[in-house]
């Protein structure tokens, strides 16, 4: 059975790209455009992993991360953002991994595989 993951990003281009690329990589991909939408989807459905953008209007990724980890403690979350330095600002304290967005999705794919294999 395919693993089900949820991609949360306010940018439509990123959602589309990630969905297609990750589906090609053999995953069952769902998307959400905001932290709120992601939480609603998590309530209804069971996921194996979340890819979460940090910088979003409304509820940002950090707040979403806090709520997700509060409720679904063992659900792995990969934080994703435009630039490296956010890692230091927010830390990886609660997420399972951290990936910088790039048109080359190699790193994201290997990170997802590594986490799902555990």
């Amino acid at each position: 059975m395919k693993e089900k993951i949820l991609v949360v990003d306010d940018e439509e281009g990123i959602r589309l790209l990630y969905k297609e690329e990750l589906e090609d990589a053999g995953l069952n991909v769902h998307v959400a455009a905001s932290g709120e939408e992601a939480l609603a989807k998590l309530e209804k459905d069971k996921f194996d992993l979340i890819v979460l953008d940090i910088k979003m209007p409304g509820m940002d990724g950090i707040e979403a991360l806090r709520r997700i980890k509060e409720r679904w403690k063992n659900l792995p979350v990969i934080l994703s953002t435009a630039y490296h330095h956010y890692k230091q600002e927010f830390g990886t304290w609660a997420s399972d991994a951290y990936v910088v967005k790039s048109s080359d999705l190699k790193e994201l794919k290997t990170t997802i595989k590594d986490i799902l294999r555990k």
Binding site: L16, K55, A82, H85, E89
Partner: protein
């Protein structure tokens, strides 16, 4: 008569004219007052250890442009720290008191007086065709005159140094103002970079998907390829700009340098194969762990290896060494990519300086800033026509109390 000359010398050397003019005036005064055929003044370059002709008046015959510090009578006068007074018969020609000096050819009376106070500044060189005697009084007078010349030369050098310092300070001020402007610009660029990154990722990502769908012989393949390449360059540029505008945010932890290097080498495995590069690892097993930001240091080795790979497109050898040297952990990355043109050497660490079509010129600039933030040192050994060695030295943990930025 002596006091007349002396007061004249003081007047001339104290004037506000350029040094050369003042020396020339004194030289004229001396050949007239002492009735010599030639008067030359040589200045000593302390670094190069040569005496260079500053002024010469009277007969120009045998007046050498330059003496090494150990050459001729001027050299001898400096070496002995004493003046040379000599008269000789025509047959002796070039040999005077054990010093060989072609400049004496045709002269039979020589005065070679070191110009010194607490240090040597040059030589006063007087020559006369005819034999003549120099009285004790004249010798004393010359002693005082050369002392006055020494003072004038020293003062002049002080002024030159002051001017030099002044220009340097102006330059520094200018750079400070510039740095402030750059900072403001950097902040703007960083926020802009954020807005740009997301669309860039999707343009590049979809272009890549497109290229995978296309058959290799499609006439549009080169268009898509170009898009992919240009986007990759823009992404790299944006990452670089953000790096420079957000330099805080270092997270130090105790790390093994060797393992960071191994990680980077593994990352480039495909590229090494493609370019036929042999990788030689000489990693010392004894290097202790040190406090570094692992991710940033990864970037350092990534940048250096990228440059090396790009320099060795037709194959070569990449040697990576680590070792401990006193209080430093040292990593050397050596390639056989032909080295760097010495003309551009002074630019390679400047942001945006690149000789590559797809380069941003930020690789080494970022590398340098990361090493500096680790209180480390980066050095380049350029072996023109052969290759380059980048040497990175990082301080051992706990040494010199690095100031860790609170984040």
């Amino acid at each position: 008569m002596g006091y007349d000359i002396l007061s004249k010398v003081i007047e001339l050397t104290d004037s506000t004219e350029a040094l050369e003019k003042r020396l020339k005036d004194v030289a004229y005064l001396l050949i007239h007052s002492f009735a010599f055929d030639q008067c030359a003044i040589y200045l000593l370059d302390q670094d190069k250890k040569v005496l260079t002709l500053a002024v010469a008046v009277g007969s120009k015959r045998g007046c050498q442009e330059e003496y090494r510090e150990d050459e001729g009578l001027p050299g001898l006068a400096i070496k002995n720290g004493k003046p040379i007074f000599a008269t000789q018969s025509k047959s002796a020609k070039e040999l005077w008191q054990g010093g060989l000096d072609k400049g004496t050819n045709g002269f039979n009376t020589i005065v070679c007086y070191p110009i010194k106070d607490d240090w040597f500044h040059g030589v006063l060189y007087l020559k006369n065709k005819e034999k003549k005697t120099i009285s004790i009084k004249q010798k004393r007078l010359l002693g005082v005159i050369t002392l006055q010349l020494a003072t004038a030369i020293k003062n002049y050098q002080c002024i030159v140094n002051l001017r030099d310092i002044n220009t340097k300070m102006k330059d520094m001020q200018y750079r400070l103002v510039n740095a402030e402007k750059l900072l403001a610009l950097g902040e703007m660029a960083a926020s802009l970079a954020h807005e740009i990154k997301n669309p860039l990722v999707s343009i590049g990502g979809f272009a890549k998907r497109l290229s995978h769908q296309m058959s290799l012989d499609s006439p549009y393949m080169s268009y898509v390829d170009r898009i992919v390449k240009e986007v990759a360059k823009l992404e790299k540029l944006m990452d670089g700009i953000v790096h420079f505008s957000k330099e805080e945010g270092y997270a130090f932890s105790s790390e093994d340098i060797n393992s960071i290097i191994e990680e980077t080498i593994a990352f480039f495995e495909d590229d090494f194969k493609k370019n036929e590069i042999t990788v030689i690892k000489e990693l010392s097993l004894n290097v202790p762990k040190i406090d570094v930001d692992r991710q940033h240091l990864n970037l350092v080795f990534n940048n250096l290896m990228t440059n090396a790979i790009q320099a060795m497109e037709k194959g070569g050898r990449l040697t990576i060494q680590t070792y401990q040297e006193g209080n430093w952990i040292v990593a050397e990355i050596h390639d056989t990519g032909g080295g760097i043109d010495p003309k551009i050497m002074s630019n390679i660490f400047n942001p945006f300086y690149t000789t590559k079509e797809t380069g941003t010129g930020l690789g080494l600039a970022i590398t340098h800033s990361i090493i500096t933030n680790h209180k480390g040192i980066i050095e380049v050994n350029n072996n023109i026509g052969v290759g380059v060695t980048f040497i990175i030295k990082l301080p051992l943990a706990g040494k010199e109390g690095r100031i860790l930025e609170a984040s």
